[in-house]
Amino acid sequence: MRPVVKFLEDELIERIISEARDILCKLGVEIHNKDILSMLRDYGAKVEPNKYHVFLTEDIIDRALKTAPGSFNLYDVLGYETHNFSGFNVYFTPGSTALNILDYETEKIRRPTTTDYINYTKVVSRLENIASQSTAFIPADVTEKISDSYRLYLSLLYCEKPVVTGSFTIQAFNIMKDLQLVVRGTKEELAKKPLTIFSCCPTSPLKWSDVTSQNVLDCALYSIPVEYISMPLSGFMAPVTLVGTLVQHTAETLSGLVISQLTNPGTPVLYGGSPAIFDVRYETTPTGAVETQMIDCAYNEIGKYLGLPTQAYISLSDSKQFDAQAGLESSMGATLAALAGINNISGPGMLDFESCQSLEKLVLDNEICGTTLRLIKGIEPREDFPSLPRFKELLKEKHLLISEHTLRYLREEHYFPGAVIDRANRARWLEEGGLTLCERAHREIKRVIKEYKPSKLPDEIKGELTRLMEDEARRYGMDSLPSRL
């Protein structure tokens, strides 16, 4: 039996959805995008001229819910299937778009460079419990006008895994879409085999900016999957109660669903988010708070109830350092998320309110992910009955270390964490250097970077990606891209 955690009764889910629909129809939503407002008007929504305010209708919401796919797949740069977002399938992806990285040597944050990003892609390519890349942080050695597309470019060049990403401007979508078309060949092939997911964020309460709503629309036109990242803050920009926050999250996410599904019915979407409680002592938005994680799991239940695959920023921490709090919060989030069956779990590597990535933490989080993936496999009998023969064998042989049964099921039943997790006895731990967690994680990073094997994406495609990216850089005043040596 796959273990599952649930927070909401069906009756409560139905009430939350009905309240959210009511809000969308009676209070409406702000969308700062004339094309989208005009499209919604054509479908019968009441639009308040000059106010970017639109009142949705029950019919529009039903229409969107009807066409949104209940599942979809992702494929790596080589075209192999890596994800099947459906049911209670669970995949992990690193937390995305940090401004800083935590430097191992200085233990201080700093702005990342191209070299940092390349090292990150090399590490992610080897982490077996992290199914996709994300454009995890923003290299600061290119103009910010291309910093979104440049991350995607480096990711596609160095790592084969699909990419969770997003664009910072309307214009950047073009190059980010073109880079994907180079990898896939044609628009049709890209639609058939999605390579990326774009995170698109409404602004709480109940608003879509021109950029983010246009991103939803543009992705829909190319059938590029979108994850909606609604971010209500309980007690500040959302009701203080978890249920009240869920009503707002549902309304904001449904409004995003309407934009994509009316633009191109059937566009793949993830019912996602990054809500948080608001800590009124520090004026911060803790992602590691248990209530934040409960809201995440609960909206995932709502998404599932609506028949949609889900996403959440949940397996991450607000600690500033690679410390016990980082492990505690990330581990609790990952465990809850996996038990709740959130399909795309974002967060590994992330610290400090989604603002700082740490490669050391990413390597540890990979083990947290492995542990939770084992957890959700649950407990199943595996040739355990009748028990008598096995116990006869045990009593006769005095151990079962090389029993056929052990050899057959050892690696399925027991998860073996990598070298980051210390399970040696004290004497052996000392003999092997007595390393701290952070030292072990850093040693792992050095090892996997050394063992990195280049992506098997054909050289001519890599060349074409570079040509496109160089053109884009020149357009924004950079003569050349940073050295990748």
Binding site: K398, H399, L401, I402, T406, L407, L410, F416, A419, N425, R426, A427, R428, E431
Partner: protein
Amino acid sequence: MDILKQIAENLRQGNDKKVLELTKQAIKQKIPSKEILDNGLIAGMNVIGEKFKAHEIFLPDVLLAARAMYAGMDELKPILIKERVPTIGKVVIGTVQGDLHDIGKNLVGIMLKGAGFEVIDLGNDVSPERFIEVAKKENARVIGMSALLTTTMLGMKKVIDLLNKQSLSGEIKTIIGGAPVSEEFAREIGADAYGYDSTSAVECVKKLIKIS
């Protein structure tokens, strides 16, 4: 591939049937028994030990290799005895008096045998006198003692004291292991070595009798 290399390779894979068959062939080809032992069986086991230490393989893989080693050894042993090839050493092992926990000690026994030692396992609840009596009789070079309880681990000191009393401590070395004991405890009671797990026990025994 030469037959001894094949023995080592099949031993690494835990293929006991093949190791037995190849050992028989090697004997038939009149390869000196010591060469079969050193360059076939023990060579294969050495690689296994290294791989296990580097976390490349797990304990069951080591034990499968050890089983393959025994398969070859059983065939070779009568010849080794006949040709008076000395074994690399005899080790007497047991759980100390008052203690019935023998899982760790058994594992050490398997690993020692795998490394080519002749192992005399006295089982559990072994009195100090018996350890020494058997070690003397068998001409063993090492006594390995195990304990799981803080109450019984003091029995290890009794064995060492008795060895000293009989002026045997130079000839018969001691190694201790088990959850409650430590390097410091080994020093305190005058044991010659402390093995923190079965692999480290084998390494220690090799060092004690200076074969590595």
